[in-house]
């Protein structure tokens, strides 16, 4: 049980690291958002699953599952808000030739 838990925690951390690496390696704003969503999805899921295996307390497990569910709702919402704003900014400043999104 404990071995599986640490395995999941380790794997989750690896995916968070890959996401961070992608955030720095990918060339433009829109691609970088993809890297951030790795951290949001598999990174968070694996770490929370690992934490669930750390405890026998049903109440704590229920709370961790709730955190997981809420993250599955807030993550995409945040990503969409970010990307949508970038898109709107791009459209409103399309006349400005020199304007570019921060890289």
């Amino acid at each position: 049980m404990l071995v599986a838990s640490w395995l999941l925690l380790g794997l989750g951390s690896v995916f968070c690291l890959i996401g961070t690496l992608g955030l720095m390696r990918l060339p433009d704003f829109y691609s970088r958002v993809h890297a951030a969503s790795i951290i949001d999805s598999l990174g968070a899921i694996l770490i929370l699953l690992g934490l669930i295996l750390q405890t026998q307390d049903l109440l704590v497990i229920a709370k961790l599952i709730l955190i997981l569910l809420f993250m599955m709702l807030t993550g995409p919402t945040a990503v969409h808000a970010l990307a949508h704003t970038a898109l709107l900014n791009e459209k409103s400043s399309s006349t400005d030739e020199n304007h570019q999104l921060p890289e």
């Binding site: 969503s37 709730l66 898109l87």
Partner: protein
């Protein structure tokens, strides 16, 4: 109307008990009172849903979720591999997916599912289409084939017409 408020309130009460962990009369009665208040407020705020569309939709989710989680894991591995690849094999592209066959609940679910799967995310949602940014040409084409859309459309069951 009263039934819907009571259903919402009892679901909220389960959440209250889970989060508080106390089973005393004081805690439970305070919880019940606030759950009823919240359910009533939300009944006034939320859009009318007289056919229990949302409820029917959630009952069908267990059929969809296992496939979806596998899809999330698969696309996570794909994007991770692309990030770690020395040459960064990506071909970012924007595309538009039609959502004409989906109702409002399904549209929201579809847009959220697209964003939850790494490699694709929703840029803009219109009345009958979704604008998507994909990390590679391949994922964009996969989205156009519409397997995920068909599965979500199957969740709607008898509420197929938007």
């Amino acid at each position: 109307m009263l039934i819907r408020i009571l259903i919402a309130a009892s679901l909220l009460l389960i959440l209250w008990v889970l989060l508080s962990g106390h089973m005393t009369v004081l805690s439970l009665s305070l919880g019940a009172a606030s759950c009823l208040l919240v359910a009533w407020l939300f009944h006034r705020l939320a859009l009318p849903d007289p056919d229990f569309k949302t409820l029917y939709f959630s009952f069908n989710l267990p059929r969809f979720l296992p496939w979806f989680f596998l899809e999330v894991i698969r696309s996570n591995l794909d994007v991770s591999w692309r990030i770690l690849h020395p040459k960064l094999v990506i071909s970012p592209v924007k595309s538009t997916v039609s959502t004409k066959i989906l109702n409002d609940v399904a549209k929201t679910t579809y847009a959220n599912c697209i964003t939850l799967t790494p490699g694709t995310y929703t840029l803009n949602v219109d009345a009958d289409s979704i604008e998507v940014h994909s990390l590679t040409q391949g994922t964009a084409e996969k989205l156009q084939k519409g397997e995920m859309k068909e599965r979500i459309s199957a969740l709607q069951g008898r509420f197929k017409t938007p």
